[in-house]
Amino acid sequence: MRTIAPWLALAFAFAAAPMIFSSGSALTTMSLMGVMIVFALSYNMLLGQTGLLSFGHAVYYGLGGFVAIHAMNAVINAKLGVPAIVIPLVGGLAGLGFGFLFGLVSTRRAGIVFSMISLGLGELVSSSSFILRSFFGGEEGVTTNRAKLAHFLGFRFVSQIEVYYLIAFWCFVCALAMYALTRTPFGRMCNAVRDNPERVEFIGYSPRMLRLIAFSFSAFFAGAAGGLAAIDFEIMNAQQLGAQQSSLVLLMAYVGGIGAFAGPIIGAIVITFLQISLSDVTSAWQLYFGLLFIGVVTWAPGGIAGLLALHRQALRQGEAWRLAPAYAMAAPALAACVVGAIMLIELGNRELALERSEGSAMRLFGFSVDSASLAPWVVAIFLLGVGLASMRRLWPGVESAWGTVNARLLEKAA
C-alpha cells in the first residue's frame, strides 16, 4: 500500500490538473512539464542511479524526436492507420537504437572520461545536424501535422487537452516503468556500479555491460520524451539536441535532487514553471538559473527532494519543532540576502543592459525605482550585506538545532 499510494496520487494529479488549471497557457505548460518529467527521469537513471554524469543526453531526446516526426510524416504520406498514441514508442525505439550504438563507445569507462565522451558525442551530433540537412531540416527544422494521423478510440489528439492527456498517460507509464526498473536486481546492480565497480566485478558482473544496459534504457526513455515533444510541438530542430537542452536536463535533475526517485519529477516541474514564468518577469532569468544551480551544488547537494526528505523524517518523529526557533531566526536573514541579491541583479541588468532602450525607471518588488539614482543601490547592498553577516552568525544555531534533532532521531531508532 505504501508504494501504491504515491502512484495513485500521481495518477489522480495528472487526471485532475486540467480541471484546476484549465487555461490554454496552463495546458501548454503542463504538457511541457510532462515531457520534461520523462526526460529528467531518464537522465537520472544515468546520473543518480548509475553514477554516470552525461553532458549530451539531449542527443537521444532529439534523435528520438526527429525519428518520431519523420515517422509521423511517413505514416501520413502512406495513409497508414497509425494513431498518435504509438508515436512515443517510435521515438523510444529510436533512442534505444542510438543509445546502444553510442553507448558501445561511451560506457567503456565511467567518471570523467564518460562525461567527456558524452560531451564530444553531443557536439558531434549537433554539429552534424547542420550537415545532414535532409534528416535534420537545417535551421528551420522538420515540421509535421498531428491532426492528419489516424484516430484512436475516437480521439484525434488535435486539441491541446487531448495532447495533454496523451502526454500524461505516457508520462505516467514511463515513470512507473522507470521506478519498476529501480526495484529489479538490475536496478540494484546499477547502484552497485555507481558505488563500487570493483566489487561488482568481484561478484561476477561486468560493470561495462551494466552501464551499457542502463545507458540504453535511459536513451529509450529520453527518446520517448522526444517523441512526446514531437507530438506536442509538431516541430523538431537542431536546438533540441544541442548543448543547451543537455544542460537543461542536468539542471532539472540536479535541482530536483538526484538522490531520490521523485527528485527529477520535482525538478522538471519547478524548472519548467520558472522557465516560463521568470522569462516574463525579468530578462536576466538565465542568470538566476545559473545562480540557483550553483547554490544547490554548494549548499543543498541533495536538491529539493533531499531537503524535503531531511525534514520529513524529523516531522514524522515529532522532532521538527526543535528546528523552529533557529529557522525563525535565520529566515529574515535569508530573505534579506535573497531580496538584496535580486535587487542588485535587477538594478544592474537595468543599468547595463536595458537602460538605453527602456530608460532607468523600473518597478522592483512593487516599488517604482530609478536605477540611475543612488538610493535603491544603497538599499540593495545594505540588505545583502546585513543578510550575509547575520546568516554567518545565525547558521551555527541552525546547525546545532539539526545536531540535536539528529541525535534524538538516532536515540529513537536505537
Partner: protein
C-alpha cells in the same frame, strides 16, 4: 598549393598554440585538483572582454598586461571562496560548480557588454603586413600572437622545470598527499595553479579577441574543443596537450581550406539515403573533425595519445 600549405601550416600552428595556452592550464588544474574546469573557456572570454574594456579607455598594451592578471585574480578568488567550499562534496560537485559558473559568466558578460560582438581591434602599432609570400600578405598581429604563445610556452616550461614552485607542482601532480605531508601548503598551491591557469586563459583571450570575434558565444565555441584537446592528449599530460593542440589546430585549419567532397571524387550520383553526405565538402566537416578524433582516440587508445591514466 605550396601557398595553401604554407599559410595553413602557419595558421594551424597559431590556432594550436592558442588552444595550448588554455589546455595547459586546464590539464594542470585537472591533474592537481581532479577538477575538470568547465569555466576555463569562460576565463578566456573574460580575458578578451577585459582586454577590450581596458583598450577602450587606456590602450591595448595596458590591457595586454593587466587583463590576464585580473582574470587570474578572479580565478584565484573562485578557487578560494567557491571550489574549496564544494571540495568536501567530491569531484562531481566541483565539476558541476564550474559548470554553473560558466553559465553565470556568460549571462553576466551578456548583461554588461550586450549580446552582439564588441569592436575589439588590433592596435595600430601591430596593424601592418608582416611579410608577403606568393602574393599573399600575412598580418603582423598574427605573428605577434604566435610569438606571445611561444614565449608563454617557454615561460611555463621554465617555471615548471627550473623553479622550486614548479617542482612542487610537478610533485603534487602525482603525489598530492606526499607533498602535503612534506609540509607544503597544498590548498595554497591549488589556488595558485587555478589562478595561474585562469590567467593563461585570460592572456589567450586578450590576444585572440581582436583576431577572432569578441562575443558572448566565444566560450561555448571553444570550450568543448578544449576538452577534446586534453582528452585526446591524455588527461594530465602537458606534452600530450601540446601535441593534441597542434594536431587539432593544424587538421582543422587544413580542413577549412579544402573543398573536396565525395561527389567530386566518386561522381555526382549518390547512393540512396546518402545524398547529404555526398555533397558535404571537407571544409563543412571541419567543425566535426575534433569530435570524430575524440571518439576514435577513445576507442583505440583510451588513455589518450600521451596519457598514462584512465580517469
Amino acid at each position: 598549393m605550396l601557398q595553401l600549405i604554407t599559410f595553413s601550416t602557419l595558421n594551424g600552428v597559431l590556432y594550436g598554440m592558442l588552444l595550448f595556452m588554455m589546455a595547459s592550464g586546464l590539464t594542470l588544474i585537472f591533474s592537481m585538483m581532479g577538477v575538470l574546469n568547465f569555466a576555463h573557456a569562460s576565463f578566456y572570454m573574460l580575458g578578451a572582454y577585459f582586454g577590450f574594456e581596458i583598450s577602450r579607455h587606456i590602450g591595448f598594451w595596458p590591457g595586454f598586461f593587466v587583463a590576464p592578471l585580473l582574470v587570474g585574480a578572479l580565478g584565484a578568488l573562485v578557487e578560494r571562496f567557491g571550489l574549496r567550499r564544494v571540495h568536501r562534496l567530491g569531484h562531481v560537485s566541483e565539476l558541476l560548480f564550474t559548470f554553473g559558473l560558466a553559465f553565470v559568466i556568460v549571462e553576466v558578460v551578456q548583461m554588461v557588454w550586450g549580446k552582439l560582438p564588441v569592436d575589439y581591434r588590433v592596435p595600430p602599432s601591430l596593424d601592418f603586413v608582416a611579410f608577403r609570400l606568393f602574393d599573399t600578405t600575412y598580418p603582423a598581429y598574427r605573428m605577434f600572437m604566435l610569438l606571445t604563445a611561444i614565449a608563454m610556452f617557454a615561460a611555463l616550461f621554465a617555471v615548471l622545470t627550473r623553479t622550486r614552485v614548479g617542482l612542487v607542482i610537478q610533485a603534487a601532480l602525482t603525489h598530492p598527499e606526499a607533498v602535503a605531508m612534506l609540509g607544503h601548503n597544498v590548498p595554497g598551491l591549488f589556488m595558485l595553479v587555478f589562478g595561474a591557469g585562469a590567467a593563461l586563459a585570460g592572456l589567450a583571450g586578450v590576444i585572440a579577441g581582436p583576431a577572432l570575434v569578441t562575443q558572448p558565444g566565444m566560450a561555448d565555441l571553444l570550450g568543448p574543443i578544449l576538452f577534446v584537446v586534453i582528452v585526446v592528449g591524455g588527461l594530465g599530460s602537458l606534452t600530450g596537450a601540446l601535441v593534441a593542440s597542434l594536431l587539432i589546430g593544424i587538421v582543422q585549419t587544413f580542413a577549412v581550406a579544402m573543398n573536396g567532397s565525395l561527389a567530386e571524387i566518386l561522381g555526382p550520383d549518390a547512393p540512396p539515403l546518402l545524398g547529404d553526405l555526398w555533397q558535404v565538402t571537407i571544409a563543412q566537416l571541419a567543425p566535426v573533425i575534433p569530435y570524430l578524433l575524440l571518439v576514435l582516440v577513445l576507442i583505440f587508445r583510451p588513455t589518450g595519445l600521451m596519457g598514462t591514466r584512465e580517469s
